[in-house]
């Protein structure tokens, strides 16, 4: 009873009207009619739900573990769930009829599906937290992998070189992609060029580009043809990685910023233009300030996405066990590569080091996500009380998930 509040409030009125009209002619007037409330959920209904669940579990336990040789826990749970739905459907049909029963059964199914989405997320975060904490020590933030041999414990050495690499690569990627993305978003939303449509189609297509293809592209364009020249700038290095990351970030940021810009009311633009401002001035002084929080959210989410990208780095920065703080020469490590390379090694210590890296990476991503949420939080309540006139909360738009390239 949520999004349809208006609908539900409309229902009683309409239905009573029709009933009175219908009953006036046919049914005797003094006959008492009970209102049918399909959404009413009484204590008894709760007992029906619990009862069906328990009986389903018992029945399946009997079938799976007593009468037959036994099956996996999954078979048991799946069987129980199906039986539970069946029993619940039969009991509810008996009590309130087929229509209401189908409604209740589907409610249970929908709630289950929403709960299933929760479970893997909780398990994933919990698993990486538990495994990562085993090997994460303060030294992780100060040391690289110098002198680490397979016999050393997981707590030795660290991922400082990877953190530095990640910061440099993502920072450079932001430097390349942000101006372009902002200008492209402005082009899509503020100009009246006939090229808007093709550009929009291409931005959409680009956001579905597998990120490994972005890495392959940089590799094929800038590294492979210059391989024999020996110029370190055109070899495996952090700069190349930043270019590949910029390609994956570009469509994501463009699309989110465009959505944010679209929320700026036309009235503001028209007011600015009517006062004689040029289009450039309007964008700079009216559109951008209005959508500032939304754009910040978009950029933060774009960074969060790029930090975890692994695939484009495989062909560009390649990975390196030691500190290389120069992004323009020599292969460089970054957090995702550190994790990826370590968990593929055969020794357990390396795998645990990988988990420590994964934990740091996860904390960074979750932190960025939280920051984006905080910037884009709903401030409409405060604004309503404040002296300022309400402006559209453009940040809300950027909170929708980045539908950009997620194929790290």
């Amino acid at each position: 009873m949520t999004s349809t509040t208006s609908a539900t409030s409309a229902t009683p009125e309409t239905s009573t009207k029709t009933t009175t009209m219908a009953t006036a002619s046919r049914a005797p007037r003094n006959r008492k009619r009970t209102a049918r409330r399909p959404r009413e959920f009484t204590t008894f209904d709760v007992w029906v739900l619990v009862g069906s669940l328990i009986s389903a579990l018992c029945l399946n336990w009997l079938i799976f573990y007593r009468l037959t040789a036994g099956a996996s826990a999954f078979g048991f749970l799946l069987g129980s769930y199906v039986t539970f739905l069946a029993i619940f459907a039969i009991v509810t049909t008996d009590r309130v009829g087929r229509l209401v029963a189908s409604d209740r059964v589907m409610t249970v199914v929908v709630v289950t599906a929403a709960a299933i989405v929760f479970i893997p997320l909780v398990l994933l975060i919990g698993y990486i937290l538990v495994e990562g904490l085993k090997a994460l020590r303060p030294s992780f933030f100060f040391e690289d992998q110098q002198g680490i041999t397979p016999v050393m414990p997981a707590t030795s050495g660290g991922g400082f070189h990877a953190i530095i690499g990640t910061i440099e690569q993502v920072g450079l990627a932001l430097l390349w992609s942000l101006p372009l993305a902002l200008a492209a978003a402005v082009f899509l939303n503020e100009s009246r060029s006939k090229w808007r449509r093709p550009v929009r189609i291409f931005v959409d297509a680009m956001s579905g580009l597998p990120s490994i293809v972005a890495g392959l592209f940089i590799f094929a364009t800038l590294i492979l043809p210059f391989a024999k020249s020996g110029n370190p700038l055109f070899g495996y290095n952090g700069f190349m990685a930043s270019l590949a990351l910029a390609i994956t970030m570009l469509p994501t940021i463009t699309r989110t910023v465009e959505v944010v810009l679209r929320l700026v009311p036309d009235g503001l633009r028209e007011a600015s233009l009517a006062l004689g401002a040029s289009r450039a001035r309007t964008v700079w002084s009216v559109v951008f300030p209005t959508s500032r929080t939304g754009m910040t959210t978009a950029v933060v989410l774009g960074i969060a996405r790029a930090v975890g990208e692994t695939a484009p780095l495989l062909f560009t920065s390649f990975g390196y066990d030691l500190m290389n703080s120069n992004p323009f020469a020599g292969s460089q490590e970054s957090l995702p590569l550190f994790v990826y390379r370590n968990i593929r090694k055969p020794d357990i210590a390396a795998v645990q080091r990988g988990f420590a890296g994964a934990l740091v990476l996860m904390l960074i991503v979750l932190g960025l996500f939280a920051i984006a949420r905080f910037i884009g939080r709903d401030r409409s309540k405060r604004k309503a009380r404040g002296p300022k006139p309400a402006t559209p909360n453009s940040a809300q738009a950027a909170k929708q998930p980045l539908k950009g390239g997620s194929n790290a």
């Binding site: 929908v110 299933i116 402005v186 580009l209 597998p210 392959l216 469509p251 969060a304 929708q400 998930p401």
Partner: protein, 340 residues
């Protein structure tokens, strides 16, 4: 297009003006700053066009070595990938089969879950709970693919093996679920598909959710006013309205699933198989284009050229899928205002 104004077609034509009369033309006189501004933003827009074209072009140029030696048709129809023999026998079909199977498994699992979660968000939850649910789905989208792969590889895989066992024991007569006698059940396409399903779930959910939320409230109220239950209303109004969005969202998810790289590179052995072997999705084995490429980073020149050719095939396929998806969504009644 500033604002989301839907332009209605003109209801009645104005009487045609006499031809001789010159119309007053309103023109914009751009200032120098404006012209500069237009050039810059236009340049940015066009550069996106150019960039994507360049991606295709350079992949084509650099892969011409391998494609020229193997022949395009042979490359597309050969399943094996052997560079240890001379001449090397490389082909992309085995990889493509694995890619498509993983993506289809992922979408088959993710779509019902997404549709129900979208319904839970738009129709079943209170405003506060909706915020929570949307947050969870967004968070699922924010988790890097690498972490999904890591988790799937070292944790989830062991948990799914009993499910695979159960499926093959009870439904082994179905070709997809058949396994050979002594086959290992880890590292299977099924497991990879489940992990990829979790990764494409957020994008499908968000498209479907957006489509559902655009259902005209009048139609929903009408269904309820006629005495329909909530599910009756959903079945007769929301789902038919959102059909195009569901199809388009699923295809978009398919496009993402085809390109998933790191998780699949970790989960599958990445050795190309014959199609007849690949379709036994419960047993160990399988390779995908992107995962295979990722695992061969830093190979010799000819292999690299072959990998670039495989990357080109992947590029074309995902591009096609995404284009079709956006057309499906934008052509459907529900998806007209939805951007995907």
């Amino acid at each position: 297009m500033p604002g989301t104004v839907v332009e209605d077609p003109p209801v009645a034509e104005d009487p045609p003006a006499p031809r001789e009369r010159t119309r007053r033309v309103i023109t914009e006189v751009p200032s120098r700053a404006d012209r500069r501004f237009n050039q810059i933003t236009m340049g940015a827009g066009i550069s996106v066009l150019v960039l994507l074209t360049l991606v295709g072009l350079f992949l084509m140029i650099q892969s011409s070595d391998a494609l020229g030696e193997t022949g395009i048709w042979t490359f597309l129809t050969r399943t094996e990938w052997r560079t240890d023999v001379t001449p090397a026998r490389i082909g992309v079909l085995g990889l493509l089969a694995g890619t498509v199977l993983v993506a289809v498994v992922a979408v088959v699992i993710a779509v019902p879950l997404s549709v129900f979660s979208a319904l839970a968000i738009t129709e079943y939850s209170t405003a506060k709970r909706r915020k929570w649910l949307v947050g969870v789905v967004d968070l699922l989208a924010a988790v890097p693919s690498l972490l999904f792969g890591l988790w799937g590889f070292l944790y989830l895989s062991d948990k799914i093996v009993p499910i695979s066992l159960w499926l093959t024991q009870n439904f082994g007569w179905f070709p997809l679920f058949k396994t050979s006698e002594d086959a290992s059940l880890t590292g299977s396409i099924f497991i990879a598909g489940i992990v990829v399903a979790l990764m494409v779930l957020p994008i499908i959910t968000s498209v479907v959710r957006e489509v559902f939320s655009q259902t005209p409230p009048g139609e929903k109220e009408a269904a309820l006013a006629l005495g329909g239950t909530r599910w009756g209303m959903i079945k007769t109004v929301v789902l038919p309205f959102g059909k195009g969005g569901i199809v388009g969202g699923s295809m978009l998810g398919l496009g993402r699933a085809l390109g998933e790289t790191i998780a699949v590179a970790l989960l599958l052995p990445q050795v190309p198989q014959k199609i007849g072997e690949s379709i036994h999705i419960l047993q160990n084995g399988g390779a995908t284009v992107s995962g295979f490429i990722a695992n061969r980073a830093g190979a010799d020149e000819f292999t690299t050229s072959g990998l670039l050719a495989a990357g080109l095939v992947l590029f074309i396929i995902t591009l096609g899928t995404n284009m079709i998806a956006s057309v499906v969504v934008s052509k459907s009644r529900s998806g007209a205002g939805v951007d995907i």
